[in-house]
């Protein structure tokens, strides 16, 4: 599965401020390598054209990368790998 890596210089906070035509929102998250990304559905959605107009080509291009999820064990209820950026997930 491919996702779009968010260029350096654009923060998660920048992106989550944007609201789509149907009041939907972007949800930039961090993968297992620490990349902040948005999905292809979000990137290609017409309701987020504004986001692309503002950022793409000005602060860097969104790069298509392979999605590598942070793995979670629902039996032990622990994350197998901790990433300390973006959406904070802390094991108890």
């Amino acid at each position: 599965m491919k996702v779009y890596k968010v260029p350096n210089g654009i923060t998660r906070e920048d992106l989550i401020k944007m609201v789509g035509n149907e009041k939907s929102r972007l949800n930039p998250v961090v993968d297992a390598k620490g990349n902040l990304f948005i999905s292809k559905e979000e990137f290609n959605s017409p309701e987020f054209q504004k986001m692309k107009e503002i950022y793409s080509g000005k602060l860097g291009e969104f790069e298509l990368i392979d999605y590598e999820p942070i793995e979670f064990d629902i039996i032990t209820m622990k994350y197998k790998k901790q990433i300390n950026s973006g959406v904070e997930i802390k094991n108890k």
Binding site: V3, E22, S24, R25, N27, I38, P69, V87
Partner: protein, 273 residues
């Protein structure tokens, strides 16, 4: 006397919409005759079963019920039982990647989820809770709902990859896990009492737990399509939702009635599995 005859005796004609349906149609702008017929029949079936009562909504067995009709985020977001575009009405806020269509709402499995704005402790009653989910996806994935604070967990996964159906209510030792080779169907995890926890697939009990609950509910909102881990969305699923509800515990008769109503609803819409 048939349901239709009974309604007509109260002055409700065949062309009238049921009250919740009428409000939902006004909010969504849906005009499709098949959807309108399906919603009216759903409301009649749930009312006849005693699961909802427009004139006495405090007795409704649902905090939120999302029929996922109309094919867009703008129509899928509404709570059928309180069709207002507000958080307090438990209107869904979609985030991340979703595909909306006439068959339901499909999250992408990487970052798509929807905040119900429905708090477990703020809006539900301990030892009387349920989660239902109509899945049109066979393949395994992650949890369709889960709230987790490090100890308390309330969850429903229709087919968790490698494990099967998972229902949490509300502590690890009462977890139900049942092998499931096909994720499609209508799933219901319910705790109707402190000593009963049951999970159903298509109206048939798949597993039970009689361990007495001693937990209190936690103040976390339910996120459709992922885990709400202490306020952070994570662990995203990619199973298509064609109906889902959150509410009070349901006994076996109510569980059967809900399944029958939902399956008839899906059949009318030609999206039953």
């Amino acid at each position: 006397m048939s349901t239709q005859q009974l309604l007509m005796s109260y002055g409700v004609t065949a062309s009238s919409n049921q009250p919740y349906t009428a409000e939902f149609l006004t909010a969504t702008g849906i005009a499709d005759a098949t959807i309108i017929s399906a919603l009216n029949q759903l409301e009649i079936d749930l009312t006849t079963a005693g699961l909802i009562d427009y004139n006495n909504p405090s007795t409704n067995k649902f905090n939120a019920l999302y029929p996922m009709v109309g094919g867009t985020a703008s129509t899928h977001k509404y709570n059928f039982l309180d069709a207002q575009d507000t958080d307090t009405a438990f209107r869904l806020t979609f985030s991340g990647g979703w595909t909306h269509s006439s068959t339901g709402a499909l999250p992408n499995g990487t970052n798509g989820y929807a905040d119900t704005h429905l708090s477990c402790s703020g809006n539900m009653t301990v030892d009387s809770t349920h989660i239902s989910f109509y899945s049109r996806t066979s393949a395994g994935s992650k949890a369709n709902y889960q709230i987790y604070d490090g100890s308390f967990s309330m969850a429903l996964a229709v087919r968790y990859s490698g494990l099967g159906i998972i229902s949490d209510k509300y502590f690890p030792t009462s977890r139900i896990i049942v092998a499931n080779s096909d994720g499609q169907g209508f799933y219901l995890g319910t705790r109707p009492s402190s000593t009963s926890h049951v999970v159903y697939k298509n109206g048939v009990s798949q597993g039970t737990s009689g361990i007495t609950n001693a937990e209190s509910l936690v103040n976390l909102d339910f996120y459709l399509g992922c885990v709400n881990f202490n306020g952070s969305p994570s662990e995203y699923t990619d199973q298509e939702c064609a109906f889902t509800s959150l509410g009070a515990g349901l006994d076996s008769t109510e569980s059967t009635d809900l399944y029958n109503a939902v399956q008839d609803f899906q059949t009318t819409l030609s999206r039953n599995v």
